[in-house]
């Protein structure tokens, strides 16, 4: 074991690290220690919108047991929660309340869009009253497809989220550099929500069949 290796703690390989652990020495980075602790106790918000919520509830029951991954503490208040599982159809009438709840959550906070409806509007996408995906207004960390996804899938999405948390860089992550992230709450108008999406977090998909304006004019 050389001192150079110890100085460059980041480059410590796993075998050396486990060797050191056996000797009773733990070498770590602040980032990984923080992220390890936070990833192991993600507190979700008790919050359901449609049938997906039933599967989310089922993932907390003894059969599937979300507490194996440290997330059994469903919080009834957004002030105490880290994770928002948007479980179900987000109607246009409900969308402002979802954004408002997100704004009330303290940093660091994460969002799982659960089910086809929360991702894209699902079967109701072309309807008049369903939002075409919650990612139009708030940043989504994990997209969990399914209609509805099974509890195992909920657990897997939580695993993905924990993986994401473990690779977070505290110095550059917006959760730590920007303060509490808050996004504008959309307002109701006669036909639709205003604005229809938040350009800061989402842009409409480009139609590959339509040529850009410059090409058409030349």
């Amino acid at each position: 074991m050389t001192t150079e290796k110890l100085k460059a703690g980041m480059n410590l390989d796993d075998t050396t690290r486990s060797e050191l652990e056996r000797a009773g020495v733990i070498v770590s980075q602040v980032d990984s220690l923080y992220n390890w602790a936070r990833g192991g106790s993600v507190w979700p918000l008790t919050f359901g919108l449609a049938c997906c919520a039933i599967e989310m509830i089922a993932s907390a029951t003894s059969r599937f047991d979300i507490s194996r991954f440290g997330s059994e503490v469903f919080r009834p208040s957004p002030r105490q929660a880290d994770l928002m599982i948007v479980s179900g159809t987000v109607t246009k009438k409900m969308a402002p309340q979802v954004v408002r709840i997100y704004n009330q959550m303290p940093e660091p906070k994460w969002v799982i869009a659960m089910g086809a409806c929360a991702i894209s509007g699902g079967p109701f996408k072309q309807g008049y009253n369903v939002l075409k995906g919650i990612d139009r207004y708030i940043p989504v960390d994990v997209y969990l497809p399914g209609c509805p996804p099974r509890p195992e899938a909920v657990l897997q999405s939580l695993n993905y989220l924990q993986e994401k948390i473990r690779t977070q860089d505290i110095k550059s992550d917006p959760a730590f550099t920007k303060g509490r992230r808050q996004y504008p709450v959309p307002e109701f108008t006669g036909k639709d929500l205003e604005p229809p999406y938040n350009p800061e977090v989402w842009q409409p998909p480009a139609n590959p069949n339509i040529k850009p304006l410059e090409e058409v004019t030349t």
Partner: protein, 191 residues
């Protein structure tokens, strides 16, 4: 709950009412609706004490082709125009006698639809009449709290009406089909 409520006594008691054989429904003149509903609820022969469902039905003006036998004894196809109308349908049950449903209809026009509210008779109508008001735009006279229930208050139009046009908010999809294809061919991509 399969016992059928016989409608003949109602027709005898209230001459203005009709029995729509095709729909299996009692069609009631709007002016008498509350009186008939109260009578159906309080009369011991019916005791229709529970209104399980309220909904609206929107009929546009349409042409109906019918086959009839003319004077010469030949089959003939006759077309006639049926005027537009708006129905408000109530499904009534009797918990006491275990009978029902009796289908109870109020009929009105599409342009200025207005019927009597039956909330004073059956309390369970309140929210469902609000829904009909919201989605069909039917005005319920005598409703204690008539406002939108599913859509937001600022919303314009009544989405369940046949002639409702939804906002054009199509965005690009890889595999458009049917109505979506139509929107796709209109070409404009907005959100």
């Amino acid at each position: 709950m399969s016992h059928i409520v016989s409608h003949e006594p109602i027709l005898m008691k209230f001459p203005g009412t009709n029995w729509d054989e095709e729909a299996g429904a009692l069609v009631v003149p709007t002016a008498q609706a509350v009186a008939i509903a109260t009578w159906l609820r309080d009369n011991d022969a019916f005791s229709l004490d529970y209104c399980s469902n309220v909904t609206g039905v929107d009929y546009l003006e349409r042409e109906i082709k019918e086959k009839i036998t003319n004077k010469e004894g030949k089959m003939e196809t006759v077309a006639r125009t049926e005027p537009s109308r708006m129905d408000v349908v109530y499904h009534l049950y009797s918990m006491q006698k275990q009978t029902g449903p009796l289908v109870f209809k109020q009929r009105t026009n599409r342009e200025q639809p207005e019927v009597e509210s039956l909330t004073p008779v059956w309390r369970s109508c309140e929210l469902q009449e609000r829904e009909v008001f919201d989605l069909f735009g039917v005005n319920f006279k005598g409703h204690p709290d008539q406002r939108r229930i599913l859509m937001w208050d600022e919303f314009e139009g009544h989405p369940m009406r046949k002639d409702y046009t939804e906002p054009f908010d199509y965005e690009w999809e890889p595999t458009p089909h049917d109505e979506i294809l139509e929107k796709h061919q209109r070409g404009k991509v907005i959100v």
